[in-house]
Symmetry: C2
Subunit: 570 residues, 2 copies
């Protein structure tokens, strides 16, 4: 079989203006970025106000493993399959971060014959949204550090006279806003800044990868530009010497940050290998943030399609939970069906069992043991009142006996259906059966339920996520977390939602615990206020917000050849 | 009179595809970025290989003052004026840095009725080239720091086994490659990185503004993508423990950096207020780098226009000198005429005289004293064999007596002509007289001369710039600079050109010395190897490579209004 980039390049795709036209977007609503990408102006939403909305399908998965479950392949393949059976379907996915592209993970355009094309455009700058988020984020840091600098060198009277405003009295030990860069940059995790005469005061800082910026979550959750402006104004950048929050509005930088992100609020239209529309917009991480693409992209796609397929990060305990309890609450739009992606390899790995056999070989005991993880995710999704279709993402090494057993086992669960997806090798035709099952699932009567109401305490909300969302016995707060919780309540933010930042590699907090963890308390080590995004992040242990480059990093393979083409992008 | 952004917004401009068509670019050679911007594919150069080239006009100025001389206004106005008198003229200018846009300087789109439109597109992300430079630059830093990290934790044998390559033996005290961000970020000038367990080793680093990146100079000097790839491979990132240079090629990151900058190599087409083509490409600083827009943009524009107007940063001792001795040497294309921009205010300020009168008031003694600075710049340009036209950028407060005297004084110099430019208030018609004078100047027989040959020692080249370029008696090297010079010679780089990094605010090294400095030695404090760009930078005292935000920064005025329009961008 050809490599992803070879398939991407050998496929003759249509000019993006034709894709837009087919989707029902008018030329005046489109900003072309070359022939393969276009931004969609938000004015389209005014024009389409009266349109009925299509069905919303969310793609989630079992607990992730190092083998990759193929969630994006399945999302893109399902979109291709739905179009193949005569439904107008659009995919809505996140913009990949460039850091992992040059690190180890590679791109995020799907793969095989289920890809967004051209994959190198998706995986590199796209239309610049991540750069805009980085730039807006770092302007806020520059602003707060400049205030700190001028406040430290001037008396209150001088400061007022020269700046025309009151000093903010920033506490240099309480600067909450870090910096971001879209690279895997281990050595920037913790830094000391302001060194050298007249650059200070010296203080601690550090960089996260841009996908972990609160601004990325804001981009994904905003309904329009004015909403984004208000959210940016609410961002808490630091505390003053009295412990009071200093917002981006207080610093006077919220307007300029919004201006930097003005174009980023428009989703980018691309296409699948079979010419189906795909909206790429926002890329918040699913560990530290809510891990879902934008509300605006979903809204536009729903007005123009019979089916919208979107993807939530990691397993259903992570991105799907946050889709339901954070994104749906902001968008007002619940999903009509969910697809849980699984592979035989993932179940074997999730069994937690050691085996002498290669993971690609038939191994019924390990498969049967690992099935518990899939069942857990089916039940987890079902409790939201959303019909579940299991998609078995087939690999060439899968045996008929294994596949048959798995389909039979799923038939005993609460899942509405189960189909094998061959989208990677076969493209649209390999996903037609899955597409039919998804269509049927969305025709079921369903009633969406949030896991928790907003009008209970943060602690109660967190308890519900831990218990109903992960099967924990309860939660355990460190003294630091307890103190932060009190501080958050004192700020009047008790009514916000909760975003749990934990490992995606287990249903519980411990990545080593496979299968279905039982008899555990969820340990909360820290809270992080995301007043702009509109949630409080509860950190469970150490959560990585800045990846590092490995000793054999991906960038080494990437180059241009003598024909000026990109090579080595995976 | 309306503000710049009001004028920009009230002007009905043509779709950029029409501007491209008028210029002679085929649709297949264009990547649209919305309706107002487009990138031009380099394949246009192959198609136009046989075309004759137009005339190249370079716009420079007297020694800059805080009042602003209006060099971009004059460049854009002259382009408008040339088109108004029936010549096909294209402007080639640098992409403005976003840092100063949110800092104090404001944008760089020209002003009044001589602007590139839409000014907010030019001043913000444009088509993402600066972001691409930042990203490629910082990937190299991430790569070198990752190597350092893995080399420090692994034995040589482990490193080879895991990475598949030999360790580089990076000296952590000799990492020459810093980081960049496109913001005014004082607190990032000197930082300490790698802090905290398993992120290290801890070492010094710091950020420059992206315009100061060597990659920006490379972008401006490359002839095509393969040339850029070779230059990036030559970049020296660090020294090893034996003092030997470690290049981007050695680190294996040069290909990926080129891939990140693959689209950035295409110039961006915009238009003036009167619909004349304008190519925006690259933005190297004129203090630390060579301060001129790209060779590629000039090449394309020359093939398609009768006249190409381009601008060099700061006074003629800075950007113009580097245009001639660095850019022309790489492009092989000498200018046919130069415009020296002057204002009455600039001459008064350059007189160095104190006066009780307001700078806007008529003040013949101060004007006459300051004239020496203009005469110096005329003579400086003339020594390159390039005909000079003086453009007096008129302000409403200028008196007839002052203007008449100045025109008379210029007539006594070696300048070919002198005209008043009213482009700011009048647009194209205000620059027609200037345009006619420039056309005549380019019809003169002229013979371009470099200031120095490349095949003499770096010291001899530097001596010539100091003496013939600034009027110094000679140069004085600090012991550190002397040692670096020996090191550079030992690396076999003695044949490169010289880029002097000095203050633009005086012809000499001391910004306080106005008029024509005499009887001084040029003190060289440091050398910086720019092996990728292809020159050695000689630093004269401290040169700022990272601006700071003032106590009353520009970002405070910038916002979106209720109609989603940008306000406050100057």
């Amino acid at each position: 079989m050809l490599s992803d980039i070879e398939i991407s390049r050998q496929t003759k795709s249509s000019p993006i203006s034709e894709i837009a036209n087919k989707l029902g977007i008018e030329p005046s609503e489109l900003s072309l970025f070359g022939d393969t990408k276009a931004k969609i102006r938000l004015s389209v939403l005014d024009r389409l106000q009266g349109n009925l909305e299509g069905k919303l399908v969310i793609v989630t998965a079992v607990t992730p493993t190092p083998f990759g479950e193929g969630k994006t392949v399945t999302s893109i393949g399902l979109t291709q399959g739905l179009n193949a059976i005569g439904k107008r379907a659009t995919a809505c996915i996140r913009q990949p971060s460039m850091g992992p592209v040059f690190g180890i993970k590679g791109g995020a355009a799907g793969g095989g014959y289920a890809q967004v094309v051209p994959m190198e455009e998706l995986n590199l700058h796209l239309t610049g949204d991540i750069h805009a988020v980085s730039s807006a984020h770092n302007l806020a840091t520059a602003a707060i550090d400049a205030c700190l600098f001028h406040e430290s060198r001037l008396s209150r009277e001088e400061y007022i006279a020269q700046s025309g405003s009151e000093p903010l009295n920033i506490d240099p030990k309480q600067i909450l806003w870090r910096r971001v860069v879209d690279h895997n940059e281990r050595s920037l995790r913790n830094i000391s800044v302001g060194i050298g005469g007249n650059n200070g005061p010296v203080h601690d800082s550090g960089f996260d990868i841009t996908a972990a910026s609160e601004l990325m979550a804001i981009l994904a959750l905003s309904r329009d530009l004015q909403d984004m402006r208000r959210r940016i104004g609410r961002l808490i950048l630091a505390l003053d010497t009295q412990g009071k929050p200093i917002t981006a509005e207080d610093v006077g930088v919220a307007g300029a940050m919004t201006v930097i992100m003005r174009d980023a609020i428009e989703p980018t239209l691309m296409q699948t290998l079979t010419g189906d529309p795909c909206l790429i917009h926002a890329g918040p991480f699913a560990n530290i943030a809510h891990g879902n693409s934008s509300i605006i992209a979903d809204r536009i796609a729903l007005k123009l399609s019979d089916f919208v397929v979107t993807e939530a990060g990691f397993g259903s305990d992570m991105g799907f939970e946050k889709f339901c309890n954070i994104k749906v609450r902001e968008s007002g739009r619940a999903p009509d069906a969910a697809v849980v992606v699984v592979t035989l390899k993932a179940l074997k790995a999730n069994s937690g069992q050691e085996s002498a056999k290669d993971i690609n070989d038939q191994d019924m005991p390990r498969l049967q043991s690992g099935f518990a993880n899939l069942k857990w995710h089916i039940d987890n999704v079902s409790q939201y009142g959303v019909p579940v279709v299991v998609a078995i993402n087939r690999f060439p090494t899968d045996t008929q006996e294994e596949l048959q057993w798995l389909k039979g086992a799923v038939a005993e669960t609460s899942a509405f259906g189960c189909e094998i997806s061959d989208a990677f090798c076969e493209g649209a035709s390999g996903a037609e059966a899955l597409a039919r099952a998804v269509v049927s699932a969305t025709e079921q009567a369903s009633e969406f339920k949030f896991l928790y109401p907003l009008d209970v305490s943060l602690e109660a909300k967190l308890m519900t996520i831990a218990e109903a969302g992960y099967g924990a016995k309860g939660i355990a707060l460190t003294p630091e977390a307890r103190q932060q919780l009190n501080q958050i309540k004192a700020m009047g933010l008790d009514g916000l939602g909760i975003c749990v930042a934990k490992t995606p590699l287990s249903i519980c907090h411990d990545p080593k615990v496979k299968g279905i963890p039982t008899d555990f308390e969820l340990p909360i080590t820290q809270f992080k206020i995301n007043a702009g995004a509109g949630f409080i992040t509860a950190l469970v242990g150490k959560v990585m917000t800045m990846p590092g480059l490995s000793v054999r990093p991906g960038y080494r393979n990437i180059d241009i050849n003598q024909q000026d083409e990109i090579v080595g992008l995976a």
